[in-house]
């Protein structure tokens, strides 16, 4: 499939693309994968903090998407469905290892990962990057999940509610707590004062 065709497909909604894939159009799946790969991988990585482990879970997540394609209902958000699978696969993987996300935090040394910058460019490097990672570790798991899904994966509050099986108000509440905890941490480090 040509580049122009792929570009044209990105204009379609995720739900339409996935319906096309179900109907036999493999290119639609590739478009969806290209569109969501970074957000899904980053989310998983933030949960497990191990590159190798995250890769396994990432692969399993998309294998499940393929296997369960007939179970997807077009009246729900594809992105929420995708992240629900990613989340449950991550939780299952962590249970298999009989470790909590907190335990895995200490394992995390993110090395040799190819990175791709977004519109904000490389404003976060070196020491600041470590600080942000450290700050996330201070959050309880459900607040960290909520924060990553909202800020890194760019899900709406409603979608996060679907993924985490809770109400939108609960999601908003968790987000608020997460923001305040991070604010406290950065204030103690003098980071917010410096930037301000």
């Amino acid at each position: 499939m040509g580049r122009s065709n792929i570009e044209g497909q990105t204009q379609l909604t995720d739900e339409i693309l996935f319906s096309r894939y179900k109907a036999g159009d493999n290119a639609s799946f590739n478009t969806l994968l290209a569109k969501h790969k970074n957000q899904v991988f980053t989310f998983i990585l933030k949960m497990v903090k191990s590159q190798a482990h995250a890769e396994d879970i990432f692969q399993e997540t998309f294998f499940k998407v393929v296997e369960r394609r007939e179970q997807f209902r077009s009246d729900v958000s594809f992105k929420a469905w995708l992240f629900t699978i990613a989340r449950t696969t991550t939780i299952d993987a962590l249970r298999k290892k009989k470790r909590t996300p907190e335990d895995l935090d200490d394992e995390g040394q993110i090395e040799g990962i190819s990175v791709e910058t977004n519109a904000h460019e490389n404003v976060v490097e070196g020491e600041l990057g470590s600080l942000l990672t450290e700050a996330l570790k201070k959050l309880p798991p459900e607040q960290r999940e909520t924060f990553v899904l909202r800020v890194k994966s760019e899900l709406t509050f409603e979608e996060i509610g679907e993924v985490m099986v809770c109400s939108t108000n609960t999601v908003k509440s968790r987000m608020r707590y997460a923001m305040d905890t991070l604010g406290d941490y950065f204030r103690k480090k003098g980071l917010l004062k410096e930037i301000t």
Partner: protein
């Protein structure tokens, strides 16, 4: 909103700064080889039509349950040789086969379907034979008699005896009644049920002492 202890609420500017910090953090890209593997799996999966078959779990559970109940009933049923005669309704009795395939062929052990289905017992006094059965099998007395005659001529005395019994239960009249009794007795004699044969012959003797051949047969019996 309920605040967690020791946490200071951020100002809107602080919130904005925190979000910008994390949004500016580099996103992580999975390795290209991994993406190729996933794409290959997705393409391969499309060629497998079996994945499109979806059977609701409730159906699977329901059908499994019905299957298990069926197997249990089957085991219960076939574990009893005469079960089919015991559980059928009187209306259905006439349509049951004459022979239970699980019944031993030994004459001594044989119990005719008419007996096992409750029409008659081997020990039943002959005086009660004249009483009409509750629900006789299909076919009139004459038809049954002719069929029995044919079987008797073919040497199938056991089956012929059963048909004579059924013909008798149809209350044949006149000479045919006597024919049934006589031939029935002959068949019983052939199958070594002498006592029952004698009882039928004695009854025939009461009805018609001059029945042809009756005295000769009676003379040959102990």
């Amino acid at each position: 909103m309920i605040k967690e202890p020791n946490n200071q609420t951020n100002t809107p500017l602080e919130d904005e700064l925190i979000l910008k910090l994390y949004q500016g953090e580099a996103c992580t890209t999975p390795p290209e080889a991994l993406l190729k593997t996933i794409q290959a799996q997705a393409a391969h999966s499309l060629s497998k039509p079996g994945l499109k078959i979806f059977i609701p779990r409730a159906w699977v559970v329901g059908l499994s349950f019905i299957g298990l109940v069926g197997i249990a009933l089957g085991i219960f049923h076939w574990s009893k040789p005469n079960a089919e005669y015991e559980i059928v309704s009187p209306l259905e009795r006439g349509r049951k086969p004459l022979f239970n395939p699980f019944q031993p062929r030994n004459n001594d052990d044989f119990v005719s379907p008419a007996v096992s289905s409750g029409f008659l017992t081997d020990e039943e006094p002959l005086g009660n034979l004249s009483a009409p059965p509750p629900l006789p099998p299909p076919g009139d007395a004459e038809t049954l008699f002719l069929q029995a005659m044919q079987l008797q001529m073919d040497g199938n005395f056991q089956l012929a005896s059963n048909l004579y019994r059924m013909a008798w239960m149809k209350n044949p009249e006149g000479r045919r009644q006597q024919d049934v009794l006589f031939n029935w007795a002959l068949c019983l004699k052939q199958t070594n049920r002498t006592r029952q044969a004698i009882e039928r012959l004695k009854l025939l003797q009461k009805i018609n002492p001059d029945y042809p051949g009756l005295n000769e047969v009676m003379g040959n019996l102990p």
